[in-house]
Amino acid sequence: MSRILAHNISKYYDTEIRTHALTNFTISVEDNEFLCLVGPSGCGKSTFLNLVAGFIEPSQGELRVAGKPVNGPGPDRGVVFQEDALFPWLTALDNVAFGLEMRGMRRADARARAHDVLGSVGLSGCERHLPKALSGGMKQRVAIARVLANDPDVMLFDEPFSALDAFTRTTLQNELLRIWERHKRTLLFITHNVEEAVLLGTSVAVMTKGADGGRLVRQIRIDMPRPRDSTGSEFNEYKRQIFSDLGVAPEF
């Protein structure tokens, strides 16, 4: 069953002239699929994520999540943002407990569960830290934990690791794969890093920026066993294909 179904959706903004962000975009994301959307800036990948999250509405077309039309944001679709979007006045623990409390769980129960979830992303001992006392990588762990605490069917990642240094990024990529393998769910992961997309995704959707907004070039299944060897020839073949789809393949 497809968890996310977008049929011919377009998103444009009417200012002085009409600006197209996304044009006739059709894609289907299966249950428990880990789909990476890769493409250059302005190709509409973040627009698509914001549409699925319900932060914005499509100008045209049909968008369904779990069979129902998207109508505003909701806890069934957790989002991990690119930049730090934690509540700075709440401790790490209370940030994670926030969603549970919003949905009516008693504070003590919410905190107990938040404590466990923080532990599962490797942040035991940081419960009482405010976001400003955490490093960039730790903040993104809290951001993942607060979404996990809500146990959503769909998790949306908007370039979550792009601001981190290479080592922290690798650690968090592995952590994310571990979480996804343990608790299967549908993941939509936006990135402009081709290597990251091939490393993480069960499939990769390649997008480009056209004259009238972003469009989908191709959706490729990545048939590689995990853990994937990012230095092997198979991996490089996928990268080569994607670069050529993006029109930035190096000449040999």
């Binding site: 943002f81 955490l134 979404v147 922290t168």
Partner: protein
């Protein structure tokens, strides 16, 4: 590879530094990629002013000495410029009733300070609460903003002194018009800052809360208000300062007690020492009330502290 290793050391240093909120190394060490492991535990290097609070007294002392010298040597006429020692002895008598230099006001300082402070407290609490409520409302709802904001912005430029005649007509002579004027003084800054604080809450926080399941009401009380709190309290601080101005103006014109009344009455009797002592008292109370306000709000604003600014 070397550069990557340095990167790791840097990020470790950064996370440690942030976790303890104390600088572990200075920037030169970090740039050189000096290893953390194995080095002796470093003392947190916190730059304090060299003489601590004593340095805060240097400028006031210099001004005081210069003042006394100028006044003593009659560089300016004594009817225009009282001596510091004269002011201090009148002030002391006003406070504790030593030598009768403060005349009818000997020993009445606490009484007048209490009268003014009470008006400020009452007017400020009511005015800032009203400003907070209406400001948050207009910041939160576009409909309320179109409804209310034009009127508020029209009334806002009217100086407090212009309200004095109306407030005397409405409330008569006494404490009530003073509280009314303080209300006005505290209302506008709190209103403006609350409205802008609420309107300027970052979109990413609102989005985060909504995707976590917050409903509109929860969004207001659990996200928007806390996020706007630093701006709101800044407005209230400005309002508190205005409150002292308002209470003094109204006491000078319409009330028979309080520091403003003493100041104006002493002016009538050309008691310049007393005028300056009253002015100094007002400044002191404004200063102390601001300190108290900051101490009361600080626990709720700690998350927004920049912390390591020198």
């Amino acid at each position: 590879m070397t550069s990557r290793l340095v990167l790791q050391t840097k990020s470790e240093a950064r996370s440690r530094q942030e976790a303890t909120a104390e600088p572990v190394m200075n920037s030169a060490d970090m740039a050189a990629g000096a290893p953390l492991a194995g080095s002796a535990p470093q003392r947190p290097e916190r730059r304090r002013p060299r003489f601590g609070w004593i340095s805060a007294l240097i400028v006031p002392l210099v001004v005081a000495i210069a003042w006394e010298l100028v006044a003593r040597n009659k560089l300016l006429s004594s009817s225009l410029f009282p001596t510091l020692s004269g002011v201090v002895s009148v002030w002391l008598d006003w406070i504790v009733g030593l030598n009768g230099k403060a005349l009818v006001y000997s020993g009445t300082w606490i009484e007048h300070v209490g009268a003014s402070a009470q008006r400020v407290l009452l007017g400020f609490v009511l005015g800032s609460l009203a400003g907070l409520t209406l400001g948050v409302l207009t910041g939160w709802s576009r409909f309320c903003r179109t409804l209310l904001d034009p009127l508020v912005q029209w009334l806002r430029p009217i100086p407090v002194t212009a309200w004095v005649p109306l407030s005397i007509i409405w409330f008569g002579i006494g404490g009530a018009p003073a509280v009314g004027l303080v209300f006005i003084g505290a209302f506008f800054p709190t209103y403006v800052n609350s409205m802008h604080g609420v309107m300027q809450v970052e979109d990413k926080l609102v989005r985060a809360a909504r995707m976590l399941g917050a409903q509109r009401r929860q969004l207001l009380f659990r996200v928007v208000l806390p996020a706007a709190l630093p701006t709101i309290t800044t407005g209230m601080r400005v309002g508190l300062g205005f409150s002292w101005m308002c209470v003094i103006v109204s006491e000078m014109l319409a009330v028979k007690s309080g520091l403003g009344y003493v100041l104006w009455d002493s002016y009538y009797f050309s008691n310049l020492d007393m005028v300056v002592a009253a002015m100094a008292s007002i400044g002191l109370l404004g200063f102390v009330s601001d300190k108290v306000f900051r101490a009361l709000t600080r626990p709720y604003l700690r998350w927004a502290d920049q912390g390591d600014r020198k």
